[in-house]
Subunit: 227 residues, 2 copies
């Protein structure tokens, strides 16, 4: 757990103009954009407001990111990359694919996610951003162009990995990737609905733990994958 080796979270280099991990200002941009987007929402978020937060200037932030949409994709990509690392780490040495999927559902739904390896990233706030805003990263007229640039490789890679577990569990299953993308999306919108539009689901989120969303998802997945 407390090893010294550092893992790297890879995000597509085309997402930024200057790598924010390499400088103090860059890390500050990342760190505070997470807090600010979570707080005021992506549509109300501007580079000007962020600049004020970190006592820098709009122009300086534009040196790192072309626009706020690229920044959002950057954050979401980081998240997917980090999630895949979590999955790798926590399913390592586990044989049983059912157990692996069980762990995946835990990882997808757990609310408290602090990772001491990335001190400038507030994973809990980032998780909220993923729930509330991540769909906006791809629901644009630029999806196809962005996809060609490889901006969604993180999501795809995670989805492929989870689909692998499904295949291990049930080799003849027809929709491993479809089911896993449904699982991931459902983990977000069921949580969102439970908090904001509760009549759209029976699931409710009172507890702090991984709660009822995970129960629902577990039921869904294993009901389908058990013969």
């Amino acid at each position: 757990m407390a090893s010294i080796a550092t893992i790297q979270i890879n995000v597509n280099e085309k997402l930024f103009l200057r790598n924010p991990e390499h400088t103090e200002l860059g890390r500050n941009i990342i760190s505070n954009s997470i807090i600010l987007i979570e707080k005021i929402g992506f549509e109300n978020f501007t580079f000007k407001k962020l600049a004020a937060e970190i006592k820098s200037t709009e122009a300086s932030i534009y040196r790192y990111f072309e626009n706020k949409h690229k920044l959002l994709i950057y954050l979401v990509s980081w998240y997917w990359s980090w999630m895949e690392y979590q999955v790798d780490f926590q399913t390592n040495n586990i044989e049983d694919p059912e157990k692996k999927l069980d762990i995946v559902i835990d990882i997808l739904t757990q609310t408290s996610r602090f990772d001491p390896q990335f001190l400038h990233i507030n994973e809990d706030a980032l998780y909220r951003i993923v729930i509330d805003e991540s769909a906006k990263a791809y629901l644009t007229k630029d999806v196809d162009a962005d996809n060609k640039e490889g901006f969604f490789l993180g999501y795809k890679s995670l989805c492929r990995k989870l689909a692998g577990f499904v295949i291990e569990m049930k080799p003849d299953f027809k929709y491993p990737r479809g089911l896993m993308s449904t699982l991931i999306e459902a983990s977000h919108h069921q949580k969102f609905f439970s908090e904001h539009l509760p009549s759209l689901t029976e699931v409710s989120e009172s507890e702090g733990g991984s709660g009822e969303v995970s129960e629902y998802l577990r039921y869904l997945i294993f009901q389908l994958l058990k013969n």
Copy 2:
């Protein structure tokens, strides 16, 4: 089928300043906003551009809708209301809840949707908007306020109706509404993925009919609801 009685599609009155159904300009706004949003995407859509399309002015459009977000919610609400009508109509006199859910999946996924009762509404374009943009109607910091105003009643009402079919089919099922909101959301994102991020799903959309998305959804739902 070709009855003279007109049905009404209800949308929350708070969504508009002046009822667009009541005037020529209003219907023009609706009709062309659907075309234009579908064409250029919601973020690029402005009232100014719409005004140019319909040879009116920005100010005139603002007399109908407070802002473009309310217009989006209006369109999406109209869609839900219309979908619920479709479900009522097409499941009428059908006893078997399984058959009813089967019809629901058809309705949710069919691509060609022209309804001669609403000549000023291009249902096909509206369906594309729902797939690409409808999540943006609720994924905002105003969800709770908007929800209090009743802006999402259409979605909720449809979800409740479909959940009723689930209960008829399997009275002890634990997540009827959760499953139906998952079904609806999945019908959108699986279609979106199949067209734009195909490695996130096995489902592909070559055909014009209700295609592979509906097959996947049918598998999902009935696998879960059959004991």
